[in-house]
């Protein structure tokens, strides 16, 4: 019994003072006249005057004994991993030696893991239904000071005497099991453990057994001690059972309240997956200085053309919409204005004119906004583009778009008009430099060349471009060219490559 001063303080500083896991300065909870020189341990940050030594200094932050890692012991049969199925303790619980800590399962065998030490659970290493490896730490237990540290090796039956017998009192050849606290109690009361009937597991003697024995002997009422019944091995402890059930609804018909009562609650959750990706992309995109340019396209003739060709395409098994025409026209325009099919690096130092026209399509899928692209539009025919679009749409609908389809785009078109809207302000998808958003096709009155009011199919287009490298004039000319192809599809045939 060396130290006469108790030590309080943050546990981390205590740990620093402990040179290794298994050696520690025993701090006795009792006051003992210190005949030997006292070892005073003062962690930094404590007031200079230490508190008077006293008993029972175990509070939640008391510097207790060392924190021992309790490893998952060998199960036998060469089993290397198990599934943790149920925890019987949580962090902060007090456990005694031999209390059940958790239940693990390995291929039809259910194993109850019991604690090797008395102490407080400090950390659980696994969640329910996760796989634990044999030999890895299961829990951290902060043991009581003064506790005899049991040997590290687990209880394994060997032909010789097994190791845990060191902690058992051997009486008349029978091994009586009792925790150190119980043994101390018996010793204080001059009771022989062999005379006490144990009612715990494996005939283990519990504190209650000692107390019962004493009361039987003396017939006196013992001084009040908190008697806690031994925890049963498997304690069903369903959580959240205390929530009071709302007693249904009144039996009489309720009159309609004049004011609706809003019982909604705010709901916060972290952004994950698709939303997180969108945050990243858009933050990067809006660092690009955009400028917008909008125009109106008369697609009456295109509509007629499409109507004619729809059945032909259907006969070939392909659904033909307006998009293949828009995409091909854009590609033809990009041949004349290659700067719109370029890419700049991070610091805007170098510009790369891309050879391939990989035109992306903004697609609204069940996973959210995705932009797959059609590769090498410059060598595809309108029909080929339609085939490719069908394929991408099918993949998008089933959520199976792959990285090959989703990367490598050089220019983007967004057909937001298929859902609705006229003018938009699209956001460029880095590392591209331009994007177009197509509004819906409306049937509006327009003047024709003969000054007559005719029905026209009008679609609006909104372009955005990177103003660091593209100027308004380029965008305007590109848009005019694109528009001319669509307003007069016959002209497209002339330039089709």
């Amino acid at each position: 019994m060396a130290a006469a001063f108790t030590v309080r303080g943050p546990f981390t500083s205590m740990r620093r003072l402990v040179s290794s896991r298994h050696r520690y300065r025993p701090c006795c909870p009792r006051v003992q006249a210190a005949a030997r020189p006292v070892v005073v341990v003062v962690p930094r940050g404590l007031p200079a005057a230490l508190p008077q030594p006293r008993r029972c200094f175990r509070t939640s932050y008391a510097a207790g004994g060392p924190v021992l890692q309790f490893k998952l012991s060998d199960i036998g049969e060469g089993i290397m991993e198990v599934t943790v199925k149920e925890w019987y303790v949580k962090e902060g619980d007090k456990v005694s030696q031999f209390d059940s800590i958790c239940e693990v399962q390995s291929d039809k065998a259910s194993v109850t893991i019991t604690s090797r030490y008395d102490g407080v659970i400090r950390k659980l290493y696994y969640d329910v239904d996760t796989i634990a490896l044999v030999g890895s730490p299961l829990v951290d237990i902060e043991t009581d000071p003064g506790h005899e540290v049991a040997p590290e090796k687990d209880v394994v039956e060997t032909p010789a005497v097994s190791l845990d017998e060191h902690t058992h009192q051997e009486i008349k050849g029978l091994k009586t099991q009792a925790t150190p606290a119980v043994r101390r109690l018996a010793m204080e009361n001059n009771i022989k453990l062999s005379e006490v009937l144990g009612t715990g597991r494996d005939g283990r003697i519990l504190k209650e057994d000692i107390l019962n024995f004493l009361s039987k002997q003396t017939g006196a009422i013992l001084p009040h001690q908190e008697i806690r019944p031994p925890p049963p091995p498997l304690t069903p402890a369903p959580a959240a059972l205390s929530k009071p059930r709302e007693k249904g609804l009144p039996s009489a018909p309720q009159p309609v309240a004049p004011k609706p009562v809003f019982t909604g609650k705010d709901h916060t959750e972290p952004l994950k997956g698709f939303h997180k990706a969108m945050v990243r992309t858009m933050t990067a995109a809006l660092k690009i200085p955009h400028f917008g340019y909008c125009d109106e396209v008369d697609v009456t003739q295109l509509a007629r053309l499409r109507a004619d060709l729809k059945d032909v395409a259907k006969a070939r098994g392909v659904k033909l919409s307006f998009m293949p025409f828009f995409i091909k026209a854009a590609s033809l325009g990009l041949l004349h204005f290659p700067i719109l099919n370029a890419s700049v690096d991070e610091g805007c130092q170098n510009i790369t004119y891309k050879a391939a026209h990989n035109i992306g399509l903004a697609m609204d899928t069940s996973q959210g906004l995705l932009v797959p692209n059609v590769k090498n539009v410059q060598v595809l025919s309108v029909f080929d583009i339609a085939v490719e679009l069908n394929r991408l749409q099918a993949l998008g609908a089933s959520g199976q778009l792959g990285t090959a389809d989703l990367t490598g785009g050089t220019f983007t078109l967004s057909n937001i008009g298929s859902i609705g809207g006229t003018y938009a302000k699209p956001v460029i998808l880095p590392p591209e430099v331009a994007i177009g958003a197509l509004g819906k096709v409306q049937i509006l009155p327009r003047f024709n060349s003969k000054d007559e009011v005719v029905k026209a199919h009008i679609m609006n287009v909104s372009w955005s471009a990177d103003h660091r490298i593209v100027d308004g004039a380029t965008m305007s000319r590109f848009s005019n060219l694109w528009r001319s192809y669509l307003e007069n599809p016959a002209a497209m045939v002339l330039d089709l490559k």
């Binding site: 199960i75 036998g76 049969e77 199925k85 149920e86 031999f98 239940e103 399962q105 390995s106 291929d107 039809k108 065998a109 259910s110 194993v111 109850t112 019991t114 329910v128 239904d129 209880v155 394994v156 039956e157 060997t158 097994s162 029978l174 091994k175 009612t199 597991r201 494996d202 005939g203 091995p233 498997l234 069903p236 402890a237 369903p238 959580a239 959240a240 059972l241 929530k243 009071p244 059930r245 709302e246 007693k247 249904g248 609804l249 039996s251 009489a252 018909p253 309720q254």
Partner: protein, 376 residues
């Protein structure tokens, strides 16, 4: 529940105090102790297993416990009863459900099935050796029988049909390994009962691995329960070098096995059998006028943790749906408690039938809902 007449306890007890199994084992454990249950109540027999596991210090010997039980379904420690068996059918047939403390899958017990539990210390835990006892015993009775143990610790007949399954429990110092043996079980009942009665159930509970089974008597009529029981006992002695006789044990004998009645009561309790189920969720969906109705129930420790109902507003007003859900939350997932969820509904909505379907589809037995109908 069959109980044979008077109890015959330990054959000879040198000590003068009441004879318990622990003391019996201390005296005779080295020559092996074989116990045979005189009860066919599944809970009592499982309670005997628990008490032997808890009370007896098995170093220096072993115990074999042989028992049979009347029709019952026994699921493993971490399984989900709604997922493993048809609770409604079992209620109708009067087949009880028990949850054992060892792991593994769901099995059907009846009087044509023999159970053998091998108790050893942790160090001597060896499932292969135990299965060798079983196959050895069967081969002694019927030398041409093609039985062998598999890697999954089953015993198969003719390489294809399972005649025995096993599960194990390891404690701090002792362990047990128990196995079934299908001698002449009711295979039709087995197949019909071990089927989930609930659709739309999602859980992480241990699933069972179904296998085709066969009775030993189908192969050789001499392999009935009594013959097999005797052969297993004899083979146990031969394998481990023991010489103990077969002792009958009465699971109601509190003196022999202290705490056995309490253990049986715990095993019967709803909180253990159903309440121990790992968290799971059930989603029921069906059509109603104006759309479809979906109800999502999440159950944890046998208690409804959350409930969400989605129904067309014309069919069930959202306020009513919310009221229904919040009434269910916190109640145990069993008929008597779900019954007290009073719901206000409109008179044109056939709520009774759908609610009954929902709750009955996932309830162990039929319920009688008290629904307050109100005119809106």
């Amino acid at each position: 529940m069959l109980r044979r007449g008077a109890l015959v306890r330990a054959v000879s007890c040198p000590s003068s105090h009441a004879s318990t199994l622990s003391s019996l084992f201390r005296d005779r454990g080295e020559s092996g102790v074989i116990l045979k249950s005189s009860s066919t109540d599944v809970y009592e027999n499982l309670a005997v297993e628990d008490r032997i596991h808890e009370l007896v210090d098995l170093r220096g010997g072993g115990i074999l416990f042989l028992w049979r039980s009347a029709s019952a379904v026994v699921i493993g420690r971490h399984q989900n009863p709604w997922q493993e068996c048809d609770l409604r059918l079992m209620a109708r047939l009067g087949v009880p459900l028990a949850r054992r403390r060892s792991g593994g899958g769901a099995v059907f017990h009846d009087l044509g099935n023999v159970n053998a539990t091998f108790f050893t210390s942790r160090g001597k835990y060896d499932r292969r050796r135990n299965l060798a006892v079983l196959t050895g015993a069967l081969k002694t009775l019927s030398p041409r029988l093609d039985v062998r143990a598999t890697e999954r610790f089953d015993v198969v007949l003719g390489g294809a049909h399972k005649v025995s399954g096993s599960a194990a429990k390891l404690g701090r110092s002792g362990a047990y390994h128990h196995c079934t043996l299908l001698c002449s079980a009711d295979r039709a009942a087995l197949a019909s009962v071990l089927k989930s009665g609930v659709r739309g159930l999602r859980s992480n509970a241990t699933p069972s691995v179904p296998s085709p089974v066969r009775n030993l008597t189908d192969e050789d009529p001499a392999l009935d329960c009594d013959a097999v029981t005797e052969a297993v006992a004899a083979q146990y002695n031969a394998e481990f070098g023991f010489s103990g006789p077969v002792l009958p044990v009465d699971p109601g004998d509190e003196a022999f096995l202290p705490g056995v009645r309490q253990a049986a009561a715990e095993l019967r309790a709803w909180d253990w059998v159903y309440g121990r189920t790992p968290r799971f969720s059930v989603r029921t969906s069906f059509g109603a006028s104006g759309g479809s109705v979906t109800v999502d129930v999440v159950v944890r420790s046998g208690v409804v943790e959350s409930c969400a109902a989605d129904a067309p507003p014309g069919w069930l007003p959202p306020r009513v749906a919310e009221g229904f859900c919040s009434a269910l939350v916190g109640s145990r997932f069993r008929p008597a408690e779900m019954k007290t969820a009073h719901v206000m509904i409109g008179n044109r909505i056939p709520l009774h039938s759908w609610l009954e379907n929902l709750v009955c589809g996932i309830m162990p037995d039929f319920i009688n809902l008290n629904l307050t109908r109100a005119l809106i």
